[in-house]
């Protein structure tokens, strides 16, 4: 049970809904609602914006592929005992 009430996408302003579309493109998946983390980050675009850009920069293909990096991210999340 989340500590906060996660707002539906429709409750966010238009600027945040554009971020949700970018999130959908990033994951290449049609969620019924944007992922919970996207909605959390949209709560404060001045935090979520740069945080998301740093993530995308880190995850972009370089010496390692996006797939390899997703697996590294999964391992880090596992070691952090995070089920999200």
């Amino acid at each position: 049970m989340p500590t906060v009430r996660l707002r539906d996408a429709s409750e966010y302003p238009e600027s945040a809904r554009r971020l949700f579309e970018l999130s959908r493109q990033w994951f290449d998946y049609d969620f019924k609602e944007p992922p919970a983390m996207s909605r959390v980050m949209a709560w404060d675009p001045h935090f979520g914006g740069p945080h998301g850009r740093a993530m995308k920069r880190a995850m972009a293909p370089g010496e390692f592929s996006r797939g390899e990096k997703e697996m590294v991210a999964a391992a880090v999340s596992g070691v952090n005992a995070c089920t999200y």
């Binding site: 989340p2 370089g62 390899e68 880090v76 070691v79």
Partner: protein
């Protein structure tokens, strides 16, 4: 990264990396000496030779850790049978199969960084470089590790439920033949 076999490989790398780090970081400063190659019994010397070959002469074991044999192996070598099994598991986990060795080292580096293992971070960073990963590649792994160390704590603080669980397609392949490499 579809297919369960890759995820099994990754999980084994994460697990055995943590096992090595626990011994190295936990016992490294304790009054427990490592078995030295010069005085080791023959069966241990044989394993040490294989370890040297796997990590390369002059690799991180020598350059970073100040010794020929990575610390966790030297520490557990007091029981040669145990060393043999631990090394066999490490060798298997880090050998190139569905995942490349450099990818496995990236996983081990990320896990070591996340768990604040001084030994593991230095060792796997040196291994990444030995395998040809440049500063940009290292920074990529650092970035992923750092950002997902942030996301996970935000998710935990807010107790978010996963919304990714149903995305991955089920893997229909069977249990592999363990002898098939």
């Amino acid at each position: 990264m579809t297919g369960d076999d890759r995820w099994y490989e990754a999980a084994f790398v994460v697990g055995i990396t943590n096992a090595l780090n626990v011994v190295a970081d936990g016992l490294g400063g304790a009054p427990m000496r490592q078995v030295e190659p010069e005085t080791a019994p023959a069966e241990v010397r044989t394993i040490f030779a294989d370890i040297r070959a796997f990590y390369g002469t002059g690799g991180p074991a020598a350059d970073v850790l100040g010794g020929e044999i990575p610390m966790p192996f030297g520490l557990v070598a007091h029981d040669p049978g145990y060393l043999a099994d631990v090394w066999a598991a490490v060798r298997r986990a880090f050998s190139e199969r569905r995942l490349t060795r450099r990818h496995k080292e990236a996983l081990a580096f990320a896990v070591s960084l996340t768990t604040r293992s001084a030994f593991g971070t230095a060792f796997h960073l040196a291994e990444l470089r030995r395998l040809g990963v440049g500063e940009r590649g290292v920074m990529e792994v650092v970035g992923v590790t750092q950002m997902f160390s942030s996301y996970t704590k935000i998710a935990d603080t807010l107790q978010l439920a996963s919304d990714m669980a149903d995305i991955a397609p089920p893997d229909a392949s069977g249990v592999p033949n363990p002898g098939a490499g």
